[in-house]
Amino acid sequence: MSDLDSNQNRRSFLKYLLSTSLVGFLASVLYPIISYLNPPKQNEVEVSTVLAGKVSDFEKDSGKIIRFGNKPVLVIHTEKDEFKALSAVCTHLDCTVQYKKELGLIWCACHNGKYDLNGKNVSGPPPRPLDVFAVKRQGDNIFVSKKA
């Protein structure tokens, strides 16, 4: 092998070594930064049943938002004295819905989405129905729980 060839070989080897270590260096700098930006998963307390309140807390023909873990749930006391509970998160763009007395419907103020009292999307942009929760009346207490 001539001197020139061995020089050439040495050069390409060094190039290879340097570029690999550069990639390694960048990866070792970027990996912790990207991981840092990704927020840690909060250990959500797995909530299955929540005490929504007393019957007297809910006026007839009105709705109230309660906390279900860290999600809002809409509890409706209907005109017919029934209790219904549905996820209050609009399936369109994440706004929080409300019970609209005049319409007898669930309404999202952001983009005028409407759901019936069973959570079915009846008009406006929502693509899916609201999740329904189970309601239990034990004496004077109203319990809301996830449907199995």
């Binding site: 930006l37 990704n38 927020p39 909060q42 938002i65 309660i66 906390r67 860290n70 809002p72 209050a88 609009c90 763009l93 994440d94 706004c95 929080t96 819905v97 409300q98 999202c108 103020a109 952001c110 983009h111 942009p125 693509p127």
Partner: protein, 362 residues
Amino acid sequence: MSVMKNIFKKAYDYLDERLHLEDLVHFMGKKYVPVHSHSVWYYFGGVSLFFFIVQVTTGILLLFYYKAGPDLAFESIQYIMSKVHFGWLIRSIHGWAANLFILAAVIHMFSVYFEKAYRKPRELTWVTGMLMLFLAMGFGFSGYLLPWNELAFFATKVGSDIAGAVPVIGEPLKILMRGGPDVTGATLSRLFGFHVALFPGIFTVVLGIHLILIQRQGISEPLEFEHLPQKEKKTMPFFPNFLLRDLLLWLVMLNLLAILAVFFPAELGHKADPFGSAPAGIKPEWYFLFMFQSLKYFPAHIFIFEGEVLGILMFGAAFALWLLVPFWDVKTARGEKNRFITYLGIFAIMFIIVLTILGWVL
């Protein structure tokens, strides 16, 4: 008077001896601004710069009292608005200058577009300008949440949810923006960081490049003007003629800001309640309204795609085409007139105006 002059001369000589200022003075003396029937548009870049300076100044002042955090943000702004001397003025100017900054930058962008000043050799000036416009929108979006009021809370929920609909990168982007799956105090901390540190840092670097390019290449001449013989080209020296006009306009803008801030001060509304229902009238800032409104006209499903996703992708493609116009408008690069570009620009302006009005009224 002569004492002042003496001091000034001594200071100049001191610097000149060390830095050889005569090169710089010579360079500045050679700077000319073309004078023609469209010269008025040259002022909007400077006006945008002025509003940016106002934003940095009032932003730093607000930082002295603002506290980020879901339990503190709303209250600290209440404090700024009601207790801090001239706090209402500083915050109102910050709000108004933000809107006027975007307006001036958009006018500047369209004037450069219609003059086709982005053509070779100024492609990079255009690209840096567009990057600053996108950053300005980022400033607007991130700043909107900082008062932690009802309107901002739900607008941020909707805005980040729309970003989350983008295929593949949407979900990680949403988590990155929100600092978790929902809009919470973590979102406030993040957007605060973006608004006062990340974006200003990037913006300042890009602005520096933009200004250096303009100094290096001189001010763009319209196509017809370029072809005139040197004798027939009317120009105005930058120092002091153009600069003084610019400064006068800055003064007018400062007065406009003061008038707007006094007669239409910034509102605060109700504190955000993550467990409250969304109020009626949730709207994004006016410069997002045309996109927001057009997304409403997409049906829920188009073929196998979700309508909204398709809409977002179309806007993404349109912005990318706009950003890259100097590279695909080959006709103008050759020095020919390109009518298509002009019609496209007129269409874009009409589209933005009509949908903004629809979004406002509906």
